[in-house]
């Protein structure tokens, strides 16, 4: 019987192998074109990068659209579609000319009329764009390749805002498409970037295909993050998201995919020691964890009580609980991100060090009466899940009463927009994460907006912070801006809008036959060669 079993098992295995080989042989032969197969961090659902701020849509935007300016990895503003920028002596006129040879994917020339329409649409949606427009009296296309900003006050914000690297990115679109109101989604996806969106092969949420745009004219400088020449070196890019990271890694090791955009560090042992895979970090500044206060309700309506939280928290506990591997996180007291131009630790002495004694004393002085903190805990986004339990532990250690309520991210997103009292379905606090590109200055950092009802959920309301943000917008030199940033940090210590809980990265995994991956802050797929 044993012999029968063994023979049967061997026969079965051989038959299965033969079937598999046979089926593999009938699978379509490899195409001659170079196809880069990518597992992005999520499925692409919305195609309009101005209408939504979703990071996956931003990354899609970088595939098919181009920008007038951008930031290089050092945080310096660099031209991309722009050729020259000139300013009048009084600083009230800014003229930008476009590079030669720029074309839309439908073959038409890129004109200043298109870029003016694109800027107007972007500025109708984006907070930094709206701020920029408060300085603009008029924006006009003065000839086919030239646009002119006429300002009411000199500002350094024009190039800075147009170089904004993260959501919403000021991507350029043809005027007929950019004429769509910002409150409506565009329905035609024509850009002037290095890849073209393949609408016919788009399977919403599961597959996105991009084809190389042969008529793209890259800048002559070498690629440097988002700056320099965007040269598409593969014929086709396919995005196929995978919710199951373990399976994504298996696919990469089996040669079925070439790049996994973002892998949890705890899966790194799966590829360690493997010759056919390696890791890279496309965003060295990474992301920043953030704890958001709702200032409308007790106890966090009292700035003194929020200050106590600054003393109660330390970043290492949060980072250990979520990322775990110190190679992929760093503690950083600078609000405006370590590694970016506005990094400063001014006024941060003693904060974020879990100084429980000081925190308790401050709570007592502030008259904390034991009002429970309703802390929203999202449970289905792995990179965020462990933040709330750590926050609860640290808050309770200094005397807060915490009511941690678990929910999925969709529920949290709906609830965070409610201004009701916590007992009536509102909230006091929650934790999330932001891309460093969204935090690089006081205007980009959305949680720093302290404009009361115009601020994001949490609705902080502080004239001092708002005045400093305005000052930043008006300043025209980096030194002035840096000085203002330090003042902003001081104002934030007095009136905390949120708490930054440290920076982290998630590694990108690539097959060893894929080279040229850029580390410019955003997941970009030009410059990549596949051998």
């Amino acid at each position: 019987m044993l012999h029968f079993f063994r023979r049967g098992a061997l026969t079965g295995a051989a038959a299965a192998a033969a079937l598999a080989v046979g089926l593999a042989a009938t699978a379509p032969a490899a195409q001659a074109e170079t196809v880069l197969k990518v597992v992005p961090h999520s499925g692409l659902k919305i195609l309009d990068p101005i209408w939504t701020t979703a990071y996956i849509t931003r990354n899609h935007g970088y595939m098919i659209y181009d920008t007038l300016f951008t930031l290089d990895p050092e945080g310096e503003i660099q031209p991309q579609m722009a050729d020259t920028v000139s300013r009048s002596e009084d600083g009230l006129t800014v003229t930008i000319t476009l590079r030669d040879g720029l074309k839309w994917h439908d073959g038409a020339d890129v004109t200043a009329e298109d870029t003016v329409a694109s800027i107007n649409r972007w500025a109708s949606k984006d907070a930094m764009g709206q701020k920029m427009m408060t300085f603009v009296d008029s924006l006009e296309a003065t000839d086919a390749k030239t646009m002119t900003f006429t300002l009411n006050t000199p500002t350094g914000l024009i190039e800075l805002a147009l170089a904004k690297p993260s959501s919403n990115v000021p991507f350029m679109m043809p005027a007929r498409i950019a004429a769509t109101p910002g409150s409506e989604q565009i329905e035609e996806y024509v850009g002037s970037g290095p890849f073209m969106f393949n609408n016919e092969e788009w399977e919403p949420g599961t597959k996105v295909v991009y084809d190389k745009f042969d008529d793209y004219v890259p800048r002559s400088e070498p690629a440097n993050g988002l700056a320099g020449g965007k040269v598409a070196k593969v014929d086709r890019v396919e995005w196929t998201p995978n919710r199951d990271m373990q399976q994504a890694v298996n696919s990469l090791l089996a040669g079925e995919v070439d790049i996994i955009e973002s892998m949890p560090p705890d899966l790194l042992p799966l590829i360690e020691g493997k010759d056919d895979a390696y890791t890279s970090i496309f965003n060295p500044a990474g992301l920043q964890y953030t704890f958001r206060f709702n200032v409308l309700h007790p106890p966090f309506d009292n700035p003194k009580i929020r200050q106590a939280v600054l003393y109660a928290f330390n970043q290492e506990d949060f980072l250990d609980a979520t990322i775990g591997d110190p190679d992929y996180y760093q503690t950083c007291k600078a609000m405006f991100v370590c590694g970016l131009p506005f990094e400063t630790t001014a006024h941060m002495d003693g904060l974020l060090e879990s100084d429980f004694a000081t925190a308790r004393k401050m709570l007592e002085e502030a008259g904390y009466d034991g009002t429970p903190v309703v802390l929203m805990h999202s449970t289905n986004v792995p990179v965020l899940t462990n933040l709330a339990p750590v926050a609860k532990d640290l808050l309770e250690a200094v005397g807060f009463t915490v009511d941690m309520q678990s929910m999925d991210w969709s529920t949290l997103v709906a609830r965070r927009s409610k201004k009701d009292a916590p007992a009536d379905g509102g909230w006091n606090a929650f934790a999330t994460a932001w891309d460093a590109g969204d935090l690089f200055n006081p205007l980009a950092m959305a949680f720093l907006n302290a404009g009361c009802d115009n601020a994001l959920f949490g609705w902080p309301c502080d004239d001092n912070i708002e005045k400093l943000r305005d000052d930043f917008a008006r300043s025209t030199s980096f030194d002035d801006q840096k000085a203002i940033v330090e003042q902003v940090q001081a104002a934030w210590v007095e009136y905390p809008t949120h708490v930054h809980l440290g920076q982290f990265n998630t590694p990108t995994v690539l097959r060893s036959n894929v080279q040229g991956f850029l580390n410019g802050g955003i997941f970009a797929l030009w410059n990549i060669e596949k051998q």
Binding site: T26, A27, T206, N250, A254, S417, N454, L456
Partner: protein
């Protein structure tokens, strides 16, 4: 028979209406706001309110329901909040992978489970019977995703015979279609093989003790003919009922399998829609599944008349 069919089809109308009301209310009572999800992290209250208005979510509940039902009566499933595509288009795009996986799974299941169950009954108490029943217990007990990961580890990662994930449309070649589908179909079929083999064994065992089986044997018929013509045919009604049930349950199992093997089917669409509170998509997909359930039950009932001449409607 025709009048029975018409009656059954008409009877589905109140069922579907009940499902529609239930799903509509369930979604509206579930916490979560599609407008806030769509608006993203940077949106202020005014922007969220504007989206809510455009989606009609600021209308009274009865009005939203009325609009939706009137669309349904015109066979318009509505537009996905996220994809800006008609839900019917999304379902059509996703139905082939789910149907392929389900069909292949059920074919494999029937081809394996019915002979195994019959054999186990015929050889009751033997090592073969115990082996098949042992497999049944294991098949029942191990979740689909564990079986899926195990198969991937052995056949894809270690042996490299089959792909880890993905789907190829049948129009692009049957070989490639089968090559990508065989591992998920095996993973999904294990539990159903266990389920149906066990039911087949019980059913056939009952029949094997009947007088007409003894008579057939006394007439000198071969054991194969006794089993196939007399035993299995008379045991078929409960087996077909269970297969019908299995197909209905399978639709739930497909969700997990599609996630593990990244098959772009209705299961993945449903998961994404639920996570994003994409109401039109969830409502349409669940209604679609309900129709499938009703049709399967109808097909099972009709099959009884073919299998047992005594049954007439």
């Amino acid at each position: 028979m025709a009048s029975y069919l018409i009656k059954r089809i008409l009877a589905t109308i109140p069922v579907m209406l009940f499902v529609a009301v239930f799903i509509f209310l369930l979604l509206r009572l579930t916490p979560g706001d599609p407008a806030a999800m769509l608006a993203g992290d940077f949106a202020n209250d005014a922007q969220i309110a504007e989206i809510r208005n455009k989606l009609g979510l600021d209308q009274p509940l009865w009005k939203q329901f009325g609009l939706w039902i009137s669309d349904m009566l015109r066979f318009e499933l509505g537009e996905s909040f996220y994809y800006k595509k008609q839900v019917s288009e999304l379902i059509l795009q996703r139905i082939e992978p789910t149907l392929s996986l389900s069909l292949l799974t059920i074919i494999m299941t029937v081809l394996i489970a019915v002979p195994f169950g019959t054999l186990a009954a015929y050889k009751q108490g033997s090592w073969l019977d115990r082996g098949i029943m042992g497999f049944s217990v294991i098949g029942f007990s191990v979740p689909v995703f564990v079986i899926g990961y195990g198969l991937v580890y052995i056949f894809s990662v270690q042996l490299g015979w089959l792909p880890v994930q993905g789907y190829q449309r049948i129009g692009d070649g049957v070989g490639g279609w089968l090559y990508r589908l065989i591992l998920p179909a095996i993973a999904l079929s294990v539990i159903f093989v266990a389920f149906i083999a066990r039911m087949t064994r019980t059913s056939v065992l009952e029949v094997l003790g009947e007088d007409y089986i003894r008579t057939a044997r006394a007439k000198g018929q071969t054991e194969f003919r006794v089993l196939m013509r007399h035993a299995l045919r008379n045991a078929a009604v409960p087996i077909v009922t269970v297969i019908g049930l299995a197909i209905a349950i399978l639709i739930g199992g497909v969700v997990v399998t599609e996630s593990v093997f990244t098959i772009p089917g209705l299961g993945l669409l449903t998961v994404e829609a639920v996570l994003n509170r994409d109401f039109p998509t969830i409502q349409a997909v669940i209604l679609f599944f309900s129709v499938v359930y009703v049709l399967i039950n109808l097909a099972v009932d009709v099959s009884y008349t073919l299998l047992d001449p005594r049954i007439r409607y």
